[in-house]
């Protein structure tokens, strides 16, 4: 008997078009179901439907039926499903409630009425399972993004759910941490339904794939058959190394040069230590490395947002930096005004930049009314409009689906000749596809910086 069953569900958020259209799905115990699909295709909404958050929390128009462990989600609130179902969201910052790690993990256990003497042992067991036992007494405010995501996973595993729902759980993690997190989730023994935008790793973990397009299920197959069908019909979802790009150019004039550059947020603990790098006009350089290796700090040094405390960072021309979080590009009330901020309010240039990223027609919308994928593109337009000599992009593919990544790669390559481009990314296939050369860091140490040909 299926653990969870979705029967002909059609759902629309209040005042919006349908996010799910006639979706049917069954999840058996122990299955690991991977949800794929472009941004806005309905993956997160389907996960919320399985958790009962749709329609209870979000309202809207709901047709059909979702049954989880024998409970009809229309009749049972999400809080009543807690313990049977657990959900991990994309951004750990937006799901942490309490201030100490062990208390945070215990929060759900207290809510579901776990006998008091079992709460702490179960919380500590869950932390041990995810390799975070040593963090138990730490304040959550002092944890890194990767540590926080592990703590959030521990919070869900502590509930010992039968159905585990993961909404892009690895989007903020480096490849090694991401792989570890998915394996940990799988080892819990619960049935898992999860969405991912980096399918290469996720396909290795999944036993079944469901592909959504405009709210409809267009593929629902076991992993081997799904791989074949994706390879034939959606090749970028199986292998992202076939991006059409023109790599390995040799740069021209120097635009930015790091010479023995060092930077520390806390005295005595340098994040960047005697770093050397030259960026030339016409080339596209990828900066890779694990969480905490100083990539974002180097990006900010390159763009002039931070200043080297040792050595020098020279720049020739104008620099622009795209931050990781597109939620920071919501300062003005209209999309075109937001983009025009960087060019002194010139809306015609803003409109051209919006058209270049596929947002033509949305100029009058409020930035907060855009979907997550559209917000990513708005942020990109906000820096491209400047036409910088040095373009620095910090994790530009976070939360971006493979087809959009291909468009982004093409966009960056098409404009590469006019500027130097530095991309900070964990996304190895994307890096391999767009980079003229890759610089790999490990905790502030440069591992490999290929010389110019």
């Amino acid at each position: 008997m299926a653990l969870a069953r979705v029967e002909r569900v059609t759902y629309a958020y209040p005042g919006a078009a349908a996010a799910l259209r006639d979706v049917s799905l069954a999840v058996d115990p122990g299955e690991v179901v991977l949800l794929l699909g472009a941004s806005g295709s309905g993956k997160s909404t389907l996960l919320r439907a399985l958790a009962g958050l749709v329609p209870h929390f979000h309202g809207g128009r709901f047709e059909g039926r979702v049954e989880v462990c024998g409970h009809d989600t229309r009749k049972v609130r999400p809080s009543e499903l807690a313990g049977t179902v657990a959900m991990l969201f994309q951004d750990p910052e937006e799901q942490v409630v309490l201030t100490r790690v062990v208390r945070e993990v215990a929060f759900g256990l207290e809510n579901i009425g776990t006998p008091p003497r079992e709460i702490v042992p179960r919380a500590l067991d869950a932390l041990r399972t995810v390799g975070a036992r040593h963090l138990a007494e730490r304040p959550v405010a002092e944890l890194s993004g990767g540590e926080l995501q592990r703590v959030c996973l521990a919070s869900t595993l502590a509930l010992q759910p039968e159905l585990l729902l993961l909404d892009e759980p690895t989007s903020q993690l480096d490849p090694e941490s991401a792989e570890g997190l998915l394996e940990l989730a799988k080892s819990s023994g619960a049935a898992i339904v999860f969405s991912e935008q980096r399918p290469d790793r996720a396909l290795d973990v999944a036993t079944r794939v469901v592909f959504l397009e405009s709210g409809r299920v267009v593929l629902d197959e076991p992993i081997d058959r799904a791989r074949d069908l994706l390879a034939a019909n959606r090749p970028t979802w199986v292998s992202q190394t076939n991006f059409a790009t023109d790599c390995c150019r040799v740069g021209e004039a120097s635009v930015c040069r790091f010479s023995d550059a060092s930077f520390a947020y806390t005295a005595g603990s340098p994040v960047v230590d005697r770093f050397d790098l030259e960026l030339r006009r016409g080339e596209l350089v990828v900066l890779a490395g694990p969480n905490g290796s100083g990539k974002t700090t180097i990006a900010k040094l390159a763009a002039g947002l931070l200043h080297a405390q040792g050595g020098t960072v020279e720049r020739h021309g104008r620099a622009a930096l795209l931050l990781q979080d597109p939620g920071h590009y919501v300062i003005r009330d209209r999309v075109d005004e937001e983009v025009a901020l960087g060019v002194g309010g010139d809306r015609s240039r803003a409109r051209a930049a919006l058209a270049a990223v596929g947002l033509a027609g949305l100029e009058r919308r409020h930035p907060r009314d855009l979907s997550s994928g559209e917000r990513e593109r708005l942020a990109l337009a906000s820096v491209l409009v400047i036409e910088p000599d040095l373009l620095v992009l910090d994790e530009p593919t976070r939360g971006v689906d493979p087809e959009r990544k291909q468009e982004l790669a093409t966009l960056l390559r098409n404009g590469a000749a006019t500027r130097a481009t530095l991309i900070v990314t964990h996304d190895r296939p994307f890096a391999a596809a767009v980079a003229d050369r890759t610089v790999t860091l490990e905790k502030g140490l440069t591992l490999a910086e290929p010389a110019y040909a």
Partner: protein
């Protein structure tokens, strides 16, 4: 030490500082509390320490000009409307030092409370309503989150070559900051609901048993108050 005992100790230190009559006693209490605060991470403690020290210094400077006590003038100044004749006496200086030490002791005690205590355990242990516990915990997280969001908005502008200087430009960021905070609150509420918040029959982490250190902490707290009244 459990948070309740630590709060009792800090409260007793504040009470002793307010009850004591000798400047040296209050000064020593303030120094002891600064040493306690130094256990907190440097990046977190400096706003509290600098803020309290500056406030105490300001009080020390202003008090002699607004108080009128003593008969040993050290300096006599002009007559100022409203304030009258400005002068500084030896007694006023001692009084100013005493008040400044008091303020410093109270400020450093609050800093130790804010920086070093586990507020989750303190409030749940005190048996206060769960909603209040959550409100305090979320408020505690709100400040650093807002700080980070504000930094992100400023960086997004600087990354586009837009300078963020002056009160007017910074004030313009308040609206997106507030909107972002509300959006974050909605996401947090969703995450809490899916973790069972609001369901009936909830339980609570059992409080750990009292240790000799906790009992000693309470005893020292009581002694401090008595000492403040009788000897300090």
């Amino acid at each position: 030490m459990r948070p309740v005992a630590a709060v009792a100790l800090l409260g007793a230190a504040v009470a002793a500082a307010l009850l004591a009559r000798h400047t040296i006693s209050v000064g020593m209490l303030a120094v002891a509390l600064v040493l306690v605060c130094l256990r907190a991470p440097r990046s977190r403690r400096w706003p509290y320490l600098v803020g309290t020290t500056l406030s105490a210094l300001a009080l020390f400077v202003i008090t002699p000009f607004v108080e009128t006590i003593g008969s040993h003038p050290l300096w006599v100044g002009p007559i100022v409307p409203v304030l009258g004749q400005l002068d500084v006496t030896r007694e006023e200086l001692w009084s100013a030092l005493f008040q400044a030490c008091r303020l410093a002791a109270v400020g450093f005690a609050f800093a130790a409370y804010a920086l070093l205590l586990d507020h989750d355990r303190l409030l749940s242990g005190a048996g206060i309503a769960r909603r209040s516990v959550l409100a305090v915990a979320l408020a505690t997280r709100l400040v650093p989150t807002l700080e980070r969001d504000a930094g992100g908005l400023v960086d997004s502008l600087r990354g586009r070559g837009v300078a963020v200087e002056g009160v007017r430009r910074r004030a313009a960021l308040m609206s997106p900051l507030l909107a972002g905070s509300l959006e974050r609150g909605l996401n947090l509420a969703e995450a809490m609901e899916v973790r069972g918040y609001g369901r009936s029959g909830r339980t609570r982490i059992p409080a750990p048993p009292w240790t000799p250190t906790d009992v000693a902490g309470l005893a020292v707290a009581a002694l401090l108050v008595v000492a403040g009244v009788a000897w300090l």
